[in-house]
């Protein structure tokens, strides 16, 4: 009995331990045309940067093992990590890596951590070659990609042999494939979280990674009208009912976990003030993604809210809209990087004189050209065999669970 117990305990322990091998099937809405690291998150496991931001947003050495300042040359010298091999088996030996010190080192490091600054080596046939734990085995633009394990990865071979990624999938398609067992990891709307959880499906919810905001265009809506819209929206009801308390209410561009100050931006509703500002009643063309159930529900609710202030939100096509409901990604844990990217997406001039992210954000939000509403997390449904999601390099498949 004792032997049996020991054998069983050993088997159980073995099952808990990560194991190598297997293929992970991932589906995503993203549609990268090229294997550019800045186009899809999963490509960060193919192409690495010299510096990486940790979970707290602080830079940490990655392909660059260290960096020193040479005042005489007015440059920062980065020392490449040793024994880093490219996907084609060649040793990565970049030689001297130096960056001018015309900017603070913090900003230089944040820039180097951007996906677009990842190390990409062109092979003889022109194809991009990286250093990450996975290599691109097959690439069909906007449709699918196959990543295979990089056996000579400097950080150690990933557990998975292969990751099959289907791109450009709509959420209902992803949900259907997941139900049919054709996918291991799919994106799910956060409004479906309760349903998945009630069914006992493993889900993963990230920290807020995108912002839901109203963006105004044109001159039909002036400052007063935009402020009236901002004051008329009942964020609490939307958060409690439509978002099922996922994410966070916010009047700021950056979520609390990145900026740390979002509570300083007002989110309270004031219908009477909004009605004063909106007098006489106006009609605005309002666009949102009607194919996205969550966006449609929130858009309709916003229209109901603004109607109380005398502002009629008439559904319209995106090209002719006065105001649109947008989901904007927060691409970095670094507040400066994230704000700069949001300013770029929103086509708002960057306030270069701002001393802090808070100051920059106050300037960006002046005039209510953008009204932040919520910060939303990403959510995935996982098959029962998937372990250690979302870090693909650490993901392994539990053999006890059937795919």
């Amino acid at each position: 009995v004792a032997v049996s117990v020991l054998l069983a305990a050993g088997t159980l322990e073995a099952a808990r331990r990560p194991r190598y091998g297997g293929e992970l099937r991932i589906e995503t809405r993203a549609t990268p045309r090229t294997p550019d690291p800045s186009e899809a998150a999963f490509l960060s496991y193919v192409f690495e940067t010299l510096v990486r931001l940790d979970d707290r947003g602080e830079p940490e050495p990655w392909l660059a093992a260290s960096w020193t300042h040479e005042p005489a040359r007015k440059r920062w010298i980065f020392t490449a990590r040793q024994n880093v091999k490219l996907h084609n088996g060649a040793l990565w030996a970049p030689g001297l890596i130096s960056v001018a010190d015309d900017q603070p080192i913090e900003k230089i490091l944040r820039d180097l951590a951007r996906p677009r600054n990842a190390v990409v080596v062109r092979a003889e046939d022109g194809s991009p070659v990286g250093t990450g734990p996975f290599r691109i085995a097959r690439w069909e633009a906007e449709k699918s990609a196959t990543l295979t394990a990089h056996d000579e990865y400097w950080g150690g071979r990933p557990y998975l042999d292969r990751a099959e990624i289907r791109m450009g999938r709509a959420l209902p398609e992803e949900a259907l494939d997941f139900e049919l067992g054709k996918a291991d990891v799919v994106e799910i709307p956060i409004t479906d979280l309760r349903r998945f959880r009630q069914r006992g499906v493993p889900v993963f919810v990230s920290p807020p990674s995108e912002i839901l905001a109203l963006e105004f265009e044109g001159t039909l809506a002036n400052d007063a009208i935009r402020e009236a819209v901002a004051l008329s929206i009942d964020r609490g009801a939307i958060y409690n009912v439509l978002l099922q308390k996922q994410g966070e209410i916010s009047g700021a561009l950056l979520p609390l976990w990145i900026g740390g100050y979002s509570f300083l931006f007002a989110t309270e509703r004031d219908v009477s003030r909004a009605r004063q500002l909106a007098s006489p009643p106006r009609t605005l063309a309002f666009a949102y993604d009607r194919q996205d159930a969550m966006m449609r529900a929130i858009g309709e609710r916003i229209a109901v809210n603004t109607s109380e202030a005398g502002i009629t939100m008439r559904p319209a096509a995106g090209t002719t809209a006065d105001v649109r409901l947008e989901r904007l990604p927060i691409i970095s844990r670094d507040p400066w990087l994230a704000l700069e990217e949001l300013a770029s997406l929103l086509k708002i001039p960057w306030p270069s004189a701002a001393g802090t992210p808070y100051d920059a954000e106050r300037v960006l939000l002046e005039g209510f050209r953008v009204i932040p509403l919520f910060h939303l997390p990403d959510a995935w449904a996982l098959s029962r065999r998937v372990r250690n999601w979302p870090h693909l390099a650490d993901v392994w498949l539990d053999a006890r669970e059937t795919p």
């Binding site: 009942d234 009801a237 009912v241 439509l242 529900a297 309709e300 609710r301 229209a303 109901v304």
Partner: protein
Amino acid sequence: LTFRTKLLFISSFTVAGAVALVTGAVSVSTRRSFERIDRERREAMLDQFRRELDAQGQDVIRRVEKAAASPGVQQIAAGAAEYDRAQAEADAASLDFLDVLQPDLTIISSAHWPARFGYKNDWQIAPEDWNAADAFLTRIPQPEGSATALAAVRPAAGGKGYVAGARRLSPEFLKSLGLAPGLRALLWLAPHEVVDAKGGVRDPEKLDGLIAEVQRSGRQANGVVQWTADRSSSEAFVAFPLSRRGRLMGVLLAGASLREQIALERSILWTGVLVGGSGIAIGVLLGWWTTERITRPVERLAAGARAVAGGDWSTRVDVMSQDEIGELARAFNHMTEQLLEQRERAIQAERVAAWRELARRLAHELKNPLFPLQITVENLQRARHRPEAEFDEVFRESTSTLLAELANLNTIIGRFSDFAKMPRPQFESVDVNEIVRVVMKLHDARFRAGGRPKIEPELDLAAGELRISADGEQLRRALGNLVLNAMDAMPSGGTLRVRTARQDGGVRLEVSDTGQGLTQEECARLFTPYYTTKHHGTGLGLAIVQSVVSDHHGKISVASQPGLGAAFIIDLPGKQGDPL
């Protein structure tokens, strides 16, 4: 208009009027019958609508009760379901609208407008509806407007919530009415939707007037709508308001096509036109025949009368019948015979009178010279026995007297001879004004002659020349006679006025005096030859004037009253051959 035309018009109008009267009476009677039948049909349809509304209401109640008892609604009311769960419950109960409400009417979940959660329901639900047995009409707000629906409310989840469900009043509802041919039901739903059993209605704005009337009065209204330019597209509507608590939810329009009625009215009208036209044609023919028989003798009588007026007193008309017209013809013939006989008698009497007057005047004129002749001859006979010297003296004086009196006789006879020998006028273009001036100048010395009261001449001549075709010499003679006559009429002096004027293409010449005037009898006989009112003269002056005027195809008249003078008026034609 001629008598014949009048008679034709009268007969035509009589026929047309009678036909129009009959046609109108039949049309009105037909229209009233149709309207009565349509009214009865529409009222029957309204009754059917109310019954169908009740039945549909019961159906809505059953569906709402079913929804209220469903587990899904229980979960919603308990806050254990997603915000849009009501959609599934509405689908399951086949309800178009469904709100799951808290007791304070806050929407927990709305099927037709999920985004309205947390807001108050505004279906005009009153507390008495919550457990009411009946369904009710109400307007339900939607994102794209509002809809009229039949709603019911039932408690759910043991009173922790309520379910308000409704079904839209739609074309399908109207289909269930099973209308009679020619009848249809329309449903007007605020703000601008109009549907019938087939769906949307073309040109719904044509109903605006009727709807506005219902909205204004809140009562049933009637009206006729003509859908196209063709009048037969007209439809008579009765609009019945569907209200709740004073708010107009919709309007039921019961429409009856007027196509058959208008077709029948047109048929009656065309029949009337046909009958009337035929009647008028027959009436015209009959009238023509009748009037021909009546008016032809009358026309012959009229022609005979015109001939008599023209001087042909021997005119006779044919007597064609023995009726009133024939009697009239006989009377006409008798009249002309009598006129002819009387004229003959009058001419004879006038002729005798003229001869008597001539004899009297001749006797008078001849008697005066004859008496001295007789005395002179008798003196001469007595002087034959006297001494020769004395006889010579007497003889000389007597022969002188005889010669003088014989010359006087010769003059008298010459005057009569002149009148008998009035020459034919020689027409030429003359200026009447100029003739007047010449004549007045010739007599000017007489007007101012001493030893007698003064006569003041006055000329009132038309402007310019007054040219006519006339014999200037004869006119001067006639005018001179009139001037002399006027002077004789004013022994105590006065004013002699000569006036000329244009008159109907000719000339009017008027010579008036301020003398003693004439009596009616004197005026009547004034132009008779040898008639005179004076103690001297032959009575031929005015007769010569009349003769001249007559030869010029003119006309002379006199106007006078005793003591007020007299005026002789001569009208002469501008051209000879044109009688005045």
